[in-house]
């Protein structure tokens, strides 16, 4: 099954490579990985989405822990958490579709971030499921380009 893993790492060059290389060297699935600085500039948080049966996930967690640059590894999957992903998507635009695109953007609580004669760029923020649905529903208008941030996640409440 899908697992959402949050990893605190030393904010040093090469750390992302160490983690990504470990996944490929050991044949673990890596669906998405995102990384950014935390409130402590020496520490970054990685959010990793991976898939595997329990035995594999247990190895993933242990192998992550084994890396010298990892400070804390948490499997958020079965804990209360908030998970978000950012979607930026440029669509083909015409008079006939303009209205519908605006409507649908509102349905997803999205925003129009750029608009030109023949193209429109929208952003949608939400769970990866919501992002998937948005992509499906916008697809008929003609997707010119899209970029997803990969999931970021954090514990809910006081932990």
């Amino acid at each position: 099954m899908k697992h959402l893993i949050s990893v605190l790492v030393e904010n040093k060059f090469g750390t992302l490579n160490r983690v990504a290389a470990m996944f490929s060297a050991r044949g673990f699935n890596l669906e998405s990985i995102s990384i950014g600085e935390t409130e402590d500039p020496e520490v970054s948080r990685m959010t990793i989405v991976t898939r595997g049966e329990d035995r594999i996930i247990s190895q993933v967690l242990k192998q992550l822990n084994r890396l010298v640059d990892t400070i804390k590894v948490t499997d958020l999957t079965h804990q209360p958490h908030v998970e978000r992903e950012l979607l930026l998507m440029s669509l083909k635009l015409s008079k006939s579709t303009q209205h519908e695109i605006f409507e649908l953007t509102n349905v997803f609580k999205g925003k129009v971030v750029d608009i030109k004669q023949k193209s429109i760029t929208i952003e949608v923020i939400g769970s990866p499921d919501k992002v998937n649905t948005a992509i499906d529903l916008f697809r008929p208008f003609g997707i010119r380009e899209l970029a997803r941030s990969g999931a970021v996640a954090i514990h809910r409440g006081e932990n």
């Binding site: 030393e10 490579n17 290389a21 060297a25 190895q59 084994r66």
Partner: protein
Amino acid sequence: MHEPGQKLNGSEIFFECLRREHVDIIFGYPGGSLLKVYETLHDVEDIQHILVRHEQGATHMAEGYARATGKPGVVLVTSGPGATNTVTGIANAYMDSSPMVVFTGQVPSSLIGNDAFQEADIVGITRPITKHNFLVKDVRDLAPTIRKAFYLATTGRPGPVLIDMPKDVLAAECVFEWPESVELRGFKPTFKCHANQVAKAAKMIAKAKRPLLYIGGGVITAGGTEALRQLAVEQQIPVTMTLQGLGAFPGDHPLSMGMLGMHGTYWANQAVSNCDLLIAVGARFDDRVTGKIDTFATKALKIHNDIDPTNVDKNVKVDLPVVGDSKDFLESILNELPKSKEDRSAWLAEIEAWRLQCPLEYTVEKDSLKTEFVIDEISKQTRGHAVIVTDVGQHQMWTSQYYKFTEPRSIITSGGLGTMGYGLPATIGAAFGVTDRPVITICGDGGLMMNIQELVTAVYHKLPIKIFLINNSYLGMVRQWQELFHKEKYSFTDLEASNPDFVKVAEAFGCRAMSADNPETARKAISDALAYNDGPVLVDFRVIRKDMVFPMVPAGGSISDMLLARLNPKTMV
């Protein structure tokens, strides 16, 4: 020696740090990026530098030294090709958990990334084969980084650590400060085994009727061999060892079952397959040990102690994991168990019956020489007291079967990576660390050729090593697999037409050499070689060419189902 607080350049700081880490020997090869270090080294008297002839040799020497002494081996090489030549040795040390610190020169910081002359991204290249590695970008970080590297290499499960040092960093100056402690937020190995888990393990042992200790190199690393001996003897538990675990328990003790796995003893593998409790200590259920996982020790509950949690449940699902230091585990178990001797004579008798059913034995013929005889004879003449370094292949497996290792740190061998060419340099490294026991390499003709240049190093330093060359002019283990499993297509394994005269080669290097081709000359050659201590000596044992190592578990087969003899006797010559 400089005191902290003085202004020093990077190269001077480098040697100050080595002194503080109690390093008295390094294995190296100079080059452009390291000229500053070698300039400083010229006047260093308290650290011995061994000039190798190939950087791979330096890494294997450092590892041989580390495995023989327990101290970290130190390597110093230049950037680019110097650094990439260390890759195999680093990978070897990583697989076998040997403590090693590799220092590589690097092109000046300003040129990094520009495809500069002799530039290689060695930090990137070695990330998956080091425990950790560093690029030092500022001379002020050099001392703290070296401190961390030695700590990482030697703490918890040991392993190689690499430090890449750009040329400008080695020339830049700063005030030298030696950090007294190491703070690594992400590295906190568990030493102390959890008391509840230990108590559970003790209960399982007390209840077991047919327990078996499965011992790996971790017990030797942890210094747990005395506790192991006590546990095995008090509780009358038979002991089987992995290749790296040999010597953890005396091979001549009645409770020793020898090695398990692919070329393990028949009775050890039968014991694994029929025990009701398998106690794995400092071992990692390697595929050469388990054979087919689904049929491995199916009748047994399994306890697994390892200092590296990633080893637990990696290959084999266990019933009771105990993460922690193996010495701590064995001692804690001893404290939990009653002192009275358990009666396990029925179980031991059963194993003895398997031993009698298929003992390790060989025949001796007057006019030809068998490897088994040579190794048995080396074992007898050294009374199991030598440091034996092997290369990789048939001779390595025969060594595990016929040399009776009686003490820890007696076998030095490339187990995980299976690196041909490891034997000679690792022997040289070991001989720099051990002077009170004979240091012997048992190697094949294929492997010896892979690092034969290091014979120079042994000769120059007059190291009294014995190079016992098991020469069948074949890549014997590959040939064996070709015969058994690949339709006897002997593709590129016959070296007879191309091998040199090894006696002449050795003599050209200035090494004493002799040859033997029957039991009588072999016995005499071994005793002559053991008596000669003025430098290295090579004996070219011309053994029969097509001998095969048995018993054997075919790859992916079940260990309860061993091949006991050759399938096709007509091919035996």
